[in-house]
């Protein structure tokens, strides 16, 4: 499948991935994330089940302390 991750095209040799799998493959280890798939927020407790499919637009933001 082909997706857009943080504005970059990405190709995976599978039909779908859960958010947890995507984070593991792309080495996102940051504790505090905000994830949107096609503009819709995916909460942490949904990472293990929420699917990313072909054509999806995924945005992953690191939450960083300071202000």
């Amino acid at each position: 499948m082909n997706i857009t991750l943080n504005n970059r095209p990405e190709n995976f040799k599978v039909d779908n991935l859960t958010i947890s799998e995507l984070l593991a493959i792309k080495n996102f280890t940051f504790r505090m994330l905000v994830i949107k798939v096609n503009g819709k927020l995916v909460k942490k407790k949904e990472y293990a089940n929420a699917k990313v499919l072909d054509g999806d637009v995924v945005q992953i933001l690191h939450m960083i302390s300071g202000g």
Binding site: M32, V34, K36, L41, L61, M63, S65, G66, G67
Partner: protein, 195 residues
């Protein structure tokens, strides 16, 4: 971008309500910038009192140390522009009270220091106040590196900062970079309101 003179700009802004969540480095500086240009009403909330260590970046004065941030920010705003209505909540914001306090705002500015609080307000606003734009500050610790500061839009969520530098003992938040990001947030508020 529509071209307008300051009189026309003020005519639009005087009817607008902006919510600012947190009155530290981001919140105090962003509120002052928005007060100067003539926003009608600013809703501020914070539970904290001013400490000397805050004065390296926050819009307070030495003789305000020990006082409540929301009360002092209200006073400081009114010394600059007495026409701005300021609704001040001396309260610790959480996922229960954010919606009630900021429900009627045209734009909400996230101005917390802790990552966990930033995540919390993004989740709450995305779920409960989907129509309200949220402007978040993300990454501003240290000094220098002007060119890494940027802004970007994800639907109704706007991000300002370098998205990299987290505060730490060796990378403190300081007036220049915190002020730049606070003013970037205010600048995005204007862009949204004057569209």
């Amino acid at each position: 971008m529509k071209l307008m003179n300051f009189h026309q700009i003020k005519e639009i802004l005087k009817n607008k309500i902006i919510g600012i969540a947190g009155c530290g480095g981001l919140g105090s500086n962003c509120a002052v910038a928005l007060a100067r240009v003539g926003i009608g009403k600013i809703i501020i909330a914070d539970f904290d009192t001013i400490e000397e260590s805050n004065l390296n970046r926050q819009y307070y004065f030495f003789d305000q140390i020990g006082k409540k941030k929301v009360q002092c920010l209200k006073e400081n705003i009114h010394m600059i522009n007495p026409n701005v209505k300021v609704e001040a909540h001396n309260i610790m914001l959480d996922s229960n009270n954010i919606v009630d306090i900021y429900r009627n705002c045209d734009v909400i500015v996230e101005a917390f220091d802790k990552a966990k609080m930033k995540q919390m307000i993004i989740e709450i606003v995305s779920e409960e106040l989907q129509e309200t734009p949220l402007v978040v500050g993300l990454g501003m610790a240290g000094w220098g590196n002007n060119n890494t500061l940027h802004s970007k839009q994800l639907d109704n969520l706007f991000i300002c900062g370098d998205e990299v530098r987290e505060v730490s003992e060796e990378l403190p938040p300081l007036a220049p970079r915190v002020g730049i990001v606070a003013n970037m947030q205010a600048n995005i508020v204007l862009e949204i309101l004057l569209k």
